[in-house]
């Protein structure tokens, strides 16, 4: 019986010829990731293992991004714990303020992940690296601790849903609209325990930024991982970022899928997910006048350079609506610098937005833009659960950078097609 992309990568990392859905395996890891919230718990667990060091100093990474720059004394203590651990164990890839960015934007940029890798991260959006053709999944701190110690993790081999992409995205429509559309279609547990495998002729029109965004939100459909078939765009990306030699795993022609879903990219419209679940996806035909108090453009989902470019194109020469606080967060230092050099930050600041240092900050209600009772935000982030960005009676509407930028200008949830007078 044929194997899916994911199954082939897992078999290859478990030293097995073949694996089947449902099989429990112990796979070797190419990278183990943690952040300033999950790593302290992992470090405490690691200390119970009586190991002198981590399994490979090059294959463990910690990124201080969630509550960093330290939002309070407790956050400072957590970052210190990570800093001390990485210093003592000589962990090479420790990213502190000044070097850090939002982990899932940072790692591909730094070339730490390549095609064919198996990666675990104590952060649910670790599934992002599936865009590079890696098997990459979120785990908890105990898994991280054990991964750091022995370089292995246990997995139940997943079955898969195949997404066959055709067509090409229209202007002001991006990967975010695609994934919100898909989650709207299959639901927040529509891919539970399974892989989401993306393939088809439509792939060639999707940039790496679109793919990273789509894979990033696979977890919001409950998936174990999202993964894209490797093509020239992938290979160019990993090469340009100095990643290790890619290993390309292609699904067998007779691979078995639970389901095949066709997605015509040409038909995708600007999409918004309403509170309080990512599956509440609507297009603008169904969206009335919804006034907003805040816009957040950033996060591991949409804080990349292309996201800032698209937002700046829409906001250029315009003013943010009165009463709307607009917060732009470049995801990494490199993106920040490039956005500065390209004049994007100037556009944001002149429009009345603020530009923040890289941080996960408001996405998880940490800091840098918390909502109070009754407030509403349009955010390019990934979750709109109750209380996610602050008060339990606040609301988060998930959208693309283009929708967020358009909404910043009008002060209500708006389509970029309308704001830019784009004829569809």
């Amino acid at each position: 019986m044929g194997m899916t992309m994911t199954q082939k990568i897992l078999a290859g990392h478990a030293g097995l010829e073949t694996v089947q859905a449902g099989q429990l395996i112990l796979a070797s890891l190419d990278l183990v990731l943690g952040n300033d919230i999950t790593s302290p718990v992992a470090i405490k667990e690691f200390s119970k293992l009586n190991k002198d060091g981590v399994f490979d100093k090059e294959k463990v990474t910690m990124v201080m991004d969630h509550f960093a720059p330290n939002k309070d004394i407790k956050a400072a203590e957590q970052c210190k714990m990570c800093r001390d651990f990485c210093g003592e164990k000589e962990v090479v890839h420790f990213y502190d303020v000044g070097k850090m960015g939002i982990e899932h934007a940072l790692l591909p940029e730094q070339g730490l992940v390549t095609s064919g890798n198996v990666v675990i991260g104590a952060d649910s959006h670790t599934c992002t690296y599936g865009a590079l053709g890696a098997f990459s999944t979120g785990v908890g701190s105990t898994d991280m601790a054990c991964g750091m110690a022995i370089g292995k993790a246990w997995f139940k081999v997943p079955s898969a849903i195949k997404f066959n992409l055709t067509g090409k995205l229209r202007k002001y429509v991006s990967g975010k609209d695609v994934i919100l559309h898909i989650i709207g279609q299959i639901g927040v547990d529509g891919a539970l325990y399974r892989s989401m495998e993306f393939t088809g002729e439509g792939l060639s029109s999707l940039s790496m930024s679109d793919r990273l965004c789509i894979a990033n939100m696979a977890i919001e459909a409950g998936a174990k991982n999202g993964i894209f078939e490797v093509d020239d765009i992938t290979l160019e990306y990993v090469k340009a970022h100095g990643a290790k030699e890619p290993v390309v795993y292609k699904a067998d022609e007779d691979a078995v899928y639970d389901e095949v879903i066709d997605i015509n990219l040409s038909e995708i419209e600007p999409t918004v997910s309403f509170p309080h679940l990512p599956e509440n996806a609507k297009t603008f035909k169904e969206i009335g006048d919804i006034k907003i108090n805040q816009v957040v453009i950033g996060s591991c989902t949409n804080g990349r350079l292309e996201d800032l470019q698209e937002s700046a194109e829409i906001m250029k020469g315009k003013k943010c609506a009165d009463g709307v606080r607009v917060i732009v967060i470049p995801a990494t230092q490199k993106i920040y610098l490039e956005a500065m050099e390209q004049g994007l930050l100037k556009i944001f600041i002149e429009s009345g937005a603020v530009v923040s240092t890289p941080t996960c900050g408001p996405c998880l209600g940490g800091h840098m833009g918390i909502l109070t009772k009754g407030e509403r935000a349009v955010a390019t982030t990934n979750r709109n659960f109750v209380g996610r960005m602050g008060h339990v009676e606040s609301e988060v509407y998930l959208a693309s950078p283009a929708v967020a930028a358009a909404s910043a200008i009008t002060g209500k949830i708006s389509s970029p097609w309308e704001v830019m007078n784009y004829e569809v």
């Binding site: 429990l24 112990l26 919230i37 999950t38 302290p40 718990v41 405490k44 667990e45 119970k48 293992l49 009586n50 969630h66 509550f67 939002k71 309070d72 407790k74 956050a75 957590q78 991260g121 104590a122 952060d123 649910s124 670790t126 979120g138 785990v139 908890g140 701190s141 105990t142 898994d143 601790a145 054990c146 110690a149 022995i150 292995k152 246990w154 927040v188 547990d189 539970l192 325990y193 977890i219 409950g222 174990k224 679940l277 998880l364 209600g365 940490g366 979750r383 659960f385 109750v386 209380g387 996610r388 339990v392």
Partner: protein, 164 residues
């Protein structure tokens, strides 16, 4: 392993942001996490939960963030077992890894009400509603997972050389 307790019942898609809101993630102290458990979904939880109580819930329990603080908060608040129609996968493996007993059984969830007394015999995969007298069957854990739980979690399994 046997569990017995009073049931606290929730619905579908209970996410880790309501189980333990991110504003409390600047600590990993178990008791402190437990003191805010379920705060954004049910403010009464921490005052009414008793040692050994059982949570029942709908589909996709524990969806969202990978924060292990969520099963830690539940376990530290005294909950002995979570029965759900289904679990989000990271929450599922985190619970196994830290030794919080969890089981999927849609029929039991449908047949158990808030406040019922429930007994679960996980060696034989039987859940009994002591209030109504009804009994539900559930699948036992796979052997590999059973080993991890029997050894008190993943850390012990590695420390004792059961997983290398």
């Amino acid at each position: 392993m046997k569990y017995e307790g009073k049931v606290i019942k929730y619905g579908d898609n209970v996410d880790t942001d309501v189980i333990i809101p991110a504003r409390y993630l600047n600590t990993s102290d178990h008791a402190e996490l437990a003191s805010h458990c379920m705060e954004d979904l049910d403010k009464t939880f921490v005052t009414r939960v008793q040692q050994g109580d059982i949570i029942t819930a709908g589909f996709n329990f524990g969806c969202g963030s990978s924060r292990e603080h969520a099963p830690i908060a539940i376990k530290a608040s005294g909950i002995s077992l979570v029965i759900a129609k289904s679990f989000a996968r990271i929450f599922y493996r985190n619970s196994i890894n830290i030794g919080l007993a969890i089981v999927e059984c849609p029929e039991a969830v449908a047949g158990i009400s808030e406040g019922d007394k429930v007994e679960a015999d996980m060696d034989n995969g039987i859940i009994r509603n002591l209030t109504t007298g009804k009994e539900y069957k559930t699948a036992p854990f796979p052997e590999f997972v059973q080993k991890i739980i029997e050894n008190g979690g993943l850390i012990n399994s590695i420390a004792e050389g059961i997983i290398k």
